[in-house]
């Protein structure tokens, strides 16, 4: 095994043939930590530092400002629509892909991943081309007094687009690894399709589902580029939290910008904590079963 134990005194430790000398180990650890500190830890800390630099009064004034509150509400609303939609999609896609063999499966998996490789700006633009005033349905929507672009529906659509793959790509490998025997047994014993799903499949995939939903939610609440294109930036009405951060920042209201940003950074930290917790739980549950 390659686990490394620290010697009580350097002389007590004999160099292992498949292990680097101690000075190499510590230099590599040092360089890696310096790199991570510069590029990860300091930026993270600076968000909270800048947010509280002018005192907690300024901080709480910034996050209770009516425009900030409306941005928080819009962000929560958008995530509350986008995440369940992609949850249903993810389960349906994973059921079809993982439990059945059919032609064109790999193409379908690639298509599901597609939004990950599209620039956020392009993700927003394509909805302008479909629903904008110059777009395919623009004139029809205008006639019927409906607005999608520069309104909340456009923000929801752009957010759904960028978060389509998250839950599906968590569930597909998980359900493929679990195979179909348990579901087949349930069906043979007379369970209906929905019973099989609720009583057999769902308990097996609930942690993967939660994992995907957490990542999906983080992206849905934090999306900037795509939402920026379709939002129209109307304060108090079509501004999400990331867009509100941008407006405050461009007005040189740095303390308020970082105050709202700190809420998003907190969301990121909670996301990482939950993610680590689920990973830890999964490891613990896999160990007793052993490797297959």
């Amino acid at each position: 095994m390659t686990t490394i134990t620290f010697p009580l005194s350097p002389s007590a430790q004999k160099e292992h043939a498949t292990q680097e000398p101690a000075w190499v180990r510590w230099s590599l650890i040092g360089v890696a930590l310096i790199f991570l500190t510069l590029f990860l830890f300091i930026p993270l800390i600076s968000v909270f530092y800048e947010a509280f630099k002018k005192g907690s009064d300024v901080y709480f004034a910034a996050i209770t400002d009516p425009d900030a509150v409306s941005a928080i509400q819009l962000t929560l609303t958008v995530a509350a629509i986008a995440v369940p939609l992609n949850l249903v999609f993810g389960v349906a896609a994973a059921w079809a892909i993982a439990k059945f063999e059919f032609r064109g499966k790999n193409l379908l998996i690639t298509l599901i991943d597609l939004p990950f490789s599209v620039s956020p700006v392009v993700s927003g633009l394509i909805y302008v081309l479909v629903f904008g005033l110059q777009g395919w349905f623009g004139p029809w929507l205008a006639e019927h007094d409906m607005k999608i672009i520069f309104a909340v529906p456009g923000i929801v659509l752009a957010t759904v687009f960028v978060t389509v793959p998250f839950i599906a790509r968590e569930l597909i490998p998980l359900m493929q690894a679990q195979g179909t025997e348990e579901e087949e047994a349930a069906v043979v014993l007379g369970a209906s399709g929905w019973q099989t799903f609720y009583k057999v499949t769902l308990p097996n995939i609930k942690w993967g589902l939660l994992y995907g939903a957490i990542l999906c939610n983080a992206r849905a609440m934090g999306e900037f580029g795509a939402v920026s294109v379709v939002s129209g930036h109307i304060r108090g009405s079509t501004n999400t939290m990331p867009l509100h951060v941008e407006i405050l920042y461009n007005e040189y209201n740095f303390a308020a910008a970082f105050a709202v940003a700190s809420l998003l950074a907190l969301l990121a930290l909670v996301t990482l904590a939950l993610k680590t917790l689920i990973e830890f739980r999964n490891q613990q549950h896999q160990q007793p079963r052993g490797h297959e």
Binding site: A32, L40, S46, V47, A96, K99, F102, V121, V128
Partner: protein, 277 residues
């Protein structure tokens, strides 16, 4: 039907696949096709002249150059971080491991303003670099910094599982045959990691090319100097130049699709390599 799908006793295939295809079509495929169909309204010379003006070409050069440099740095340091996390023990390792994913979870706008504040002339890091004559914020160097932050987890997370799976027997055999650690690394470990490393590099590069939120705050956004292609698309949209914006986004889409193809090939290569070994 029989040739399309293998028989199964499980229900729900038609419903699940039907819903998947409908949803994908409505949310992803039809809107994406809009970009191509609208661009087809331009003639080929019109399209070509829109996507090759000097300002646009300068933005390609910047976007690709900065993305490539950031992906190279991420490949080197990502490999190092993955190595340290898999092979060594040190205090706080679990927390460091969890925080590697921060760029995935932190909204890009937050990363953008944080990095700008740090690297500006009066920032924590910027004030030490400025006397040395190094300006980061509001220059192409700043774009490189933002893209390095954004791409950081990709290489770590693709290399890490492969490194965990390398069997210690191979290294022991190499040591028994008289190889030193450096030889074992360059001849045994590195070749095994290489496909995963390339996959991580390509993922970081692809992500960097489309990145917008973290870059625009730190870039300074000066035409010809520090203006990335996604920003140029927004600029054209704000000027109601829909044809120009659409043509540019088609260029970006085609590049993304080519990169996606390369990434899929790399992953296939990586999987095959791990099965062989």
């Amino acid at each position: 039907m029989n040739t399309f799908k293998q028989h199964s006793i499980l229900p729900g295939f038609n419903l699940a696949l039907g819903f998947t295809l409908l949803y994908l079509s409505l949310i992803v495929l039809i809107p994406l096709s809009a970009a191509f169909i609208r661009t087809a309204e331009l003639t080929w010379p019109e399209f070509w002249s829109v996507v090759t003006t000097p300002r646009v070409v300068a933005s390609y050069r910047l976007t690709f150059g900065a993305s490539f440099a950031a992906a190279v740095v991420n490949a080197v340091f990502g490999l190092l971080v993955a190595w340290v996390l898999v092979r060594y023990h040190f205090p706080g390792k679990k927390i460091v491991d969890a925080l590697v994913d921060l760029p995935f979870a932190l909204p890009t706008a937050v990363a953008g303003i944080a990095l700008t504040a740090l690297y500006a002339g009066n920032g924590w890091i910027g004030q030490h670099l400025e006397p040395l004559g190094i300006k980061v914020a509001f220059t192409p160097l700043g774009i490189f910094v933002a893209l390095t932050f954004i791409g950081l987890p990709f290489v770590v997370r693709t290399v890490q599982p492969v490194l965990e799976d390398i069997e210690s027997e191979l290294e022991e055999a190499a040591a028994t045959l008289g190889a030193n650690r450096w030889q074992t690394f360059t001849r045994i470990i590195f070749p095994a990691l290489f496909p995963a490393l390339m996959t991580g590099f390509a993922l970081a590069f692809a992500r960097a090319i489309g990145e917008y939120g973290s870059v625009i705050f730190i870039a300074g956004n000066m035409p010809m100097i520090s203006e990335i292609t996604p920003l140029l698309i927004i600029t054209k949209l704000e000027q109601y130049d829909y044809a120009g914006a659409t043509a540019l986004s088609v260029v970006m889409l085609v590049i993304s699709f080519i990169l996606l193809l390369i990434i899929n090939l790399l992953q296939w290569w990586s999987r095959r390599r791990s099965i062989e070994s």
